[in-house]
Subunit: 401 residues, 2 copies
C-alpha cells in the first residue's frame, strides 16, 4: 500500500524514518508492506534518501490512484484543510498531527471520512506519542467521562520544571527552552496557552462527542508566573503546572486552561521536563493517567504511523469516531469553583482579609514584610474576580483543592 507524506519538517521526516526503519515489523502487523511513494515539500533535499520521493505538486499525489493513505504534517490550516478534505473525498484516509486543523475542522473531517468509508485519524495531535485519543474513543468506552485533565504542552512544562529546579526566572527559562529547541522563536502559542487550549478542545470534543470550539475555552498561559510564585509553590510543597482541564458537573461541561498549584499527591505532580501527561476520569473506571514524550520527532511520528497502520488495516472501513458538528455549549467560567493562591502588597493584608475567605496564609523569606500571600477557601471564579477587582493583586494562581 502506498503512502504520501505532506510536509517534510520535523514530524514529516520522522514519519518517513519510522516507516522506513520499522518497515518489516509494520508489514507483519498490517499484513502487507506500507511504502512511501511521495513526500510533498517546497524545498529540495539533494543527496538525502527522501530526494527520490519528493514532489512539489499536491495534484500529482491526489491524481495517483495508487495512493491510499495521506499523512498531513504540514501544520497550519491552509492548505492543510483543503488537502485533507479533498483527500478524504477522493477516498483516501488521512492521518495528521495537526492540532489546529483537528480542533477547527475535526468534526467535519470525521464526518467526511465516514461518508466515504475511509478514516480521518489524529492520534498525534494531542500528547505526541501518548496514545490518549485512542484511549478516549476506543478504550474508555464503558464509562461516562467525568474529567479530563492534562499537562498538554511540553515546552511550558519544561520551563516550569527548570524554574522549579534551578530558581531560574521566566525569561531565563524561556531563553533556555529556545536554545534547546523546545520553544519556538515566537513562543506565544506555547506560553500563552493556545497550544494546550486546542488540545483540551479536541479531548473534550471526543469525551462528549460534540464540537467544542477552542475560542470558548478560557485560556491563561504561564507568562505571569515568576520565580517568586515558584518559590511560594515550593514552600507549600506544590508544583505549578499548566493544566488543560474539562469536567462534567450537573450535566454541564466546563473547560479551562490555566496554571495551577497541584498537590504532591497529584499524579501530574511528578511529570517534569518536556513530558506530557493526561488523566481521564471515568464514572466506573476511576482515574487513568498516561504519560510520555508529548512532542519530539520520533514519538510524534510513531503516533502518526500507528494511525497509518490503523488506516491500512481498515481499508474502505470507517472506524467510528463520535464527534458531531453540533456545538457543545460550555458552562460559564464565572460558575467554575476553585481555590486561589493570591499575593498582594503587605500593606493590603487587612483589606485582603476582609475581601477573601482565607484558608491559610503563607510567607516566604524573599517576600517577608513586603507581600501578604494566602490561599482562599473554595469560591467561584466570579466571586474571586469581584473581590480581586477591589485590591491590587500582584499575582494569583489557581490552587488544587
Amino acid at each position: 500500500m502506498k503512502v504520501a507524506i505532506l510536509g517534510y519538517g520535523t514530524v514529516g521526516s520522522g514519519v518517513f524514518d519510522v516507516l522506513t526503519e520499522n518497515r518489516d515489523i509494520i508489514a507483519k502487523r498490517v499484513g502487507f508492506p506500507l511504502d512511501v511513494k511521495y513526500v510533498l515539500d517546497l524545498r529540495e533535499f539533494p543527496g538525502k534518501p527522501v530526494e527520490k520521493y519528493l514532489t512539489h505538486d499536491f495534484r500529482q499525489i491526489i491524481e495517483d490512484p495508487e495512493i491510499e493513505i495521506i499523512v498531513e504534517v504540514m501544520g497550519g490550516i491552509h492548505p492543510s484543510y483543503e488537502y485533507a478534505k479533498e483527500a478524504l473525498e477522493s477516498g483516501r484516509s488521512v492521518c495528521t498531527s495537526n492540532k489546529e486543523l483537528v480542533a477547527k475542522h475535526g468534526a467535519e473531517l470525521v464526518g467526511i471520512a465516514k461518508d466515504h468509508s475511509v478514516n480521518f485519524l489524529f492520534e498525534a495531535s494531542v500528547g505526541g506519542g501518548i496514545p490518549v485519543i485512542r484511549q478516549l474513543i476506543r478504550s474508555i468506552t464503558a464509562d461516562e467521562v467525568e474529567e479530563v485533565c492534562g499537562i498538554l504542552n511540553g515546552t511550558t512544562n519544561y520551563m516550569m520544571t527548570l524554574m522549579r529546579e534551578t530558581g531560574a526566572t521566566f525569561e531565563e527559562a524561556l531563553t533556555d527552552a529556545q536554545d534547546k529547541g523546545f520553544a519556538e522563536r515566537n513562543p506565544a502559542a506555547d506560553i500563552e496557552g493556545h497550544d494546550a487550549c486546542r488540545k483540551i478542545a479536541i479531548l473534550t470534543s471526543l469525551a462528549y462527542a460534540k464540537q467544542v470550539d477552542y475560542e470558548d475555552i478560557y485560556t491563561e498561559g504561564i507568562v505571569s508566573i515568576s520565580d517568586i510564585d515558584v518559590a511560594y509553590a515550593k514552600a507549600m510543597k506544590r508544583g505549578i503546572k499548566l493544566l488543560g482541564r474539562s469536567y462534567l458537573k450537573d450535566g454541564t461541561v466546563y473547560a479551562m486552561v490555566a496554571p495551577c498549584m497541584v498537590r504532591k499527591k497529584n499524579p501530574l505532580y511528578p511529570v517534569n521536563g518536556v513530558y506530557n501527561a493526561i488523566m481521564i476520569r471515568g464514572n466506573m473506571l476511576g482515574d487513568v493517567v498516561c504519560y510520555g514524550m508529548g512532542a519530539g520527532k520520533l514519538p510524534t511520528a510513531s503516533a502518526v504511523v500507528s494511525d497509518v497502520i490503523d488506516a491500512a488495516k481498515h481499508r474502505h472501513v470507517n472506524i467510528p469516531i463520535l464527534w458531531e458538528k453540533e456545538k457543545l455549549v460550555l458552562g460559564a467560567k464565572d460558575d467554575m469553583d476553585g481555590k486561589f493562591f493570591v499575593r498582594v502588597a503587605f500593606a493590603d493584608a487587612d483589606k485582603a482579609r476582609a475581601l477573601f475567605p482565607i484558608a491559610k496564609e503563607i510567607s516566604i523569606l524573599e517576600c517577608e514584610g513586603r507581600e501578604f500571600a494566602f490561599v482562599t477557601e473554595v469560591m467561584s471564579e466570579k466571586a474571586f474576580s469581584d473581590a480581586a477587582e477591589k485590591i491590587a493583586v500582584i499575582n494569583r494562581i489557581r490552587y488544587e483543592i
Copy 2:
C-alpha cells in the same frame, strides 16, 4: 444484543452494574443497546436485581441463539477454558478478566476466535482498568517493543507502600491488606509473585506475538522483604517495587518478576497503594507509562465492558491479535545483567568486598555494627549467585541501574 455473564463474583457483579448503569451511553457508542440476558452462578441471590437473570446451567446459555457475547469472569482454568472454547466455536465473542486462562490458553483462544470470525478479548486480565492490552496491540503498533515493565499487582504494592510509609513489618502489612480486603486469606498468588508473573507473560506474549509460558519466567515475590530492607531503600532515596519486566536485547527476550529498588526518577516510583502502572518502551516512541486502579470491582468491570463494546461493534469481524502458539524461548536468567543491593553480617564485610564488585556501601542506624550492606556494580545474575553462594547473605534485592 444479548450478553451472558459467567460468574457473579466481584468482577461479574461489577460488569452487571456497569452494563446497567451506563446502558444509555453504551447504547449510543455501540449503536444499539447491550442487555444482560443470563448470569451464570451456582448461588442464588434472592431479592437482588440479578435474580431474574440467574441460571445455574451453562447449556441454557450456549443453546440460546440470542446470546452473542459471553463474559467469562469466573476465574480459574476449569471450566472457564472449556466454556470459552465452546462459546467461541459456536460463534460467540468471549470477554474475560481471567489472567490464568489468558496466560495459559490465550494463543489458542485468540486463534479459535479468528477462525470463527468472532473475538476473544481480555483487556481486564492485566492492569485492571488500565487499558494496557489495547495500548500494546492497537496503539503502539509502529514500534518494536524494547521493554515492558510494570507494577502489576496492587496487593503487594499496597503492602510495600504501607511498609514504606508506616515502618510496618511484612506481617503487619499483610494483615492490614487482608483486613482491608486487598489480599486474600491465602495470599500466595500475590506475595509470591505468581499473579504478576502471569500478567507479564501475557504482556510479553503480545509484545512479541508469540507464546510466553509463565513457567519459564523467573519469579520472586516480596516474601523476603523486611522493614529493614525498606529502611535501607529509604536511606538510599529509593522505593522497593515488585516489578514484572521483559525486554529485548540482541534479538533475545528476557523476563523476570522480582522486587527492585527503583530510583526516585523512575516513573514507577510514585505509584503507590493499590495502583498499578505499566511502562512500555518503543524503539521510536520512547517510554509511555500508564497508571490507574489495577484492581477493584468497577475499574476491572469497566475494562471488561469496554471489551464487550468492542465485540458488539465487531459483530462477525475478528479484531486481529498477533499471538502465535509458537513458543517464545526466553533468554536464560543467568545472562541477565543488573545491580544488586546486598546485606551480610558485619563480620563478613571483608569477605564480601573480596567477592563482589562493590559500587557503594550503605549503613543505617538500625543495623550499624551488625550488618554490612552494599550495592554491587552491574554484574550478571550468574556472577552474582556464584559469589552469593560463598557467603551468608541476609537478603539481596535487585537495584535499578
